[in-house]
């Protein structure tokens, strides 16, 4: 049996207007993976499949060593799941919810729950309907984190949060990782949040995983080359360059596998190198999605 926290191999699911196609995903214990994709890319469907909530049409899913969806009940004892469309019972207090979860989970940590109450500025006697959106998200996370799950699966947890609340939530997730046995799968379309806490990044678009690697590898390998091109010269895409936009005498080449020789090659082709820029994760994400779509449509 593999030690991986999450394993998806050749997973697919067909709906009338959407297909999740041949998903491969692996997450090692102690790692944080950011699953980034535009709205409707398949992030939530992937997460529902790996939680066993939706049956895949084909492919194999294992979570914490459990085959999904058949062993979902056993797996979910050690999975903490929160999503942006998850709501607690409005008429009840946070204390009621804490008691409800505590009655089920033997691993509930009351001291940690109290600590989270303080850190998140929540009051357990308050009814859920009286909480702001940010407080509701924090209350949900409290209920998830105080169970001390081995795997956290968070589907867009920071959506709609103000910057302070986002910072608090992300800091808490980073603290959770102090326990090296824990893993987090974190889906978002907000690349800043993902960049802040993730070790690995997976890009998903239109039901396909278009790229997956270490965050540092992305940031190291992706570059933007700004070039000045003499009139009449058209630059071609070299290996490692995924796209060139040329307007008059100016050209921008985007590299997904940058090596210094690429710059030399364009200089040898007659261009003048203005600068080589690092790219943010958001820029890498957008370039990756556009490139993937162009490839599919070609």
């Amino acid at each position: 049996m593999s030690d991986l926290a999450i394993e998806l191999h050749g997973v697919g699911k067909k709906y009338r207007y959407f297909t999740l196609d041949n998903i491969h995903l692996e997450l090692a214990p102690g790692q944080i993976m950011g699953l980034i994709g535009p709205n409707g890319a398949g992030k939530s469907t992937t997460i529902r499949i790996l939680l066993g909530l939706v049956h895949q049409d084909h492919g194999e899913v294992r979570v914490l060593g459990h085959r999904m969806p058949s062993e979902q009940v056993a797996a979910k004892w050690d999975i903490g799941f929160a999503s942006d469309d998850m709501r607690l019972y409005e008429a009840m207090t946070l204390e009621w919810h804490m008691n409800f979860i505590r009655s089920m989970y033997p691993g509930w940590d009351p001291a940690y729950a109290q600590l989270l109450l303080k850190r998140f500025g929540l009051r357990e006697e308050q009814k859920i309907k009286g909480l702001s959106h940010g407080q509701r998200v924090k209350a949900t996370l409290l209920l998830v984190l105080a169970r001390r799950p081995k795997l956290l699966v968070l589907d867009e947890p920071t959506t709609g949060l103000d910057p302070v609340a986002r910072h608090e939530v992300l800091r808490e997730l980073t603290d959770v990782m102090a326990d090296e046995g824990r893993s987090i799968l974190f889906s978002s379309h907000n690349t800043q949040d993902v960049e802040q806490i993730s070790d690995q990044i997976t890009f998903i678009d239109r039901g396909r995983i278009i790229d997956s690697m270490d965050k540092e590898a992305y940031l190291d390998r992706w570059r933007r080359l700004r070039l000045e091109v003499p009139l009449g010269v058209t630059l071609s895409a070299l290996p490692g360059i995924i796209g060139i936009r040329q307007a008059g005498r100016l050209a921008v080449a985007t590299a997904n596998d940058f090596v210094p020789d690429l710059a030399s090659a364009y200089v040898n082709a007659g261009a003048r190198l203005q600068c080589i820029e690092n790219m943010t994760l958001e820029e890498i994400f957008v370039a990756n999605v556009e490139h993937s779509r162009e490839e599919v449509e070609a």
Binding site: L51, V54, Q72, V73, Y89, F100, M104
Partner: protein, 224 residues
């Protein structure tokens, strides 16, 4: 462990809806109190209230306990707990039926006791009371089954409208039966074959409807 989670889910539903149950019981108790007044109008009003409290509870519980959990996005919270979709459906069926049956039984037993305790109401009313109350139980089961299977507001509302508009006709057909009318005024309950067949049919429909709902849910592959 999962059995205890199912139990916890059932207890959770009871806690969430205890106010509804208490309100229905209160309404039923007021109806029974009105029936204690020895006058025609309070008797009629009491009878109407008695059945309305059963009908309202039977229409409201499936919506608030099953449909609203999905509509108000609480289902995602429950899905994250260590339960499968069939265990969740089981907890919903048990809690919804249990929450209806408890006040239903209390009110029906109280109604029977009231008839037995009052000399001016013939005991022959008891079989009719059971049959008419049984219709509200059947109606509730149909609405609950529609809610559990469809998990959607539309079919549940359709089932509610269908059941609620059928009660009047059903009651009329029972009461207009000459044998039933005759037996109503009997000083002792008369368990005619017509009455027993009707009661048996009601119980059979309850069993078939709930069994079918459970069977259909057990074939469902996905939680959402």
């Amino acid at each position: 462990m999962s059995q205890s989670v199912v139990q916890q889910l059932i207890v959770k539903d009871l806690r969430l809806h205890r106010l509804h149950i208490l309100l229905s019981l209160g309404c039923g108790a007021i109806a029974l109190a009105l029936l204690q007044i020895r006058s025609e109008i309070p008797f009629v009003v009491g009878c109407v209230w008695f059945f309305i409290s059963l009908i309202v509870l039977g229409s409201m519980l499936p919506v608030s306990n099953i449909i609203n959990e999905k509509k108000k996005q609480n289902l995602a919270f429950v899905m994250s707990l260590p339960v499968s979709s069939i265990q969740y459906a089981t907890s919903k069926l048990v809690s919804t039926v249990g929450m209806f049956l408890a006040p239903w039984l209390m009110l029906v037993i109280a109604g029977v006791a009231l008839i037995l305790g009052r000399s001016d109401i013939p005991d022959g009313f008891i079989p009719a009371l059971l049959i008419l109350s049984g219709m509200t139980l059947v109606g509730f089961c149909v609405i609950a089954a529609a809610a559990v299977v469809s998990e959607a507001e539309g079919p549940t509302i359709a089932a509610t409208i269908l059941c609620n508009s059928t009660y009047g006709l059903g009651w009329y057909l029972v009461i207009r039966n000459p044998a039933v009318r005759h037996d109503l005024l009997s000083p002792v309950p008369v368990w005619s074959s017509y009455m027993l067949t009707f009661l048996g049919l009601e119980l059979a429909v309850v069993a078939v409807v709930l069994g079918a709902a459970y069977y259909l849910q057990s074939r469902k592959r996905d939680f959402v």
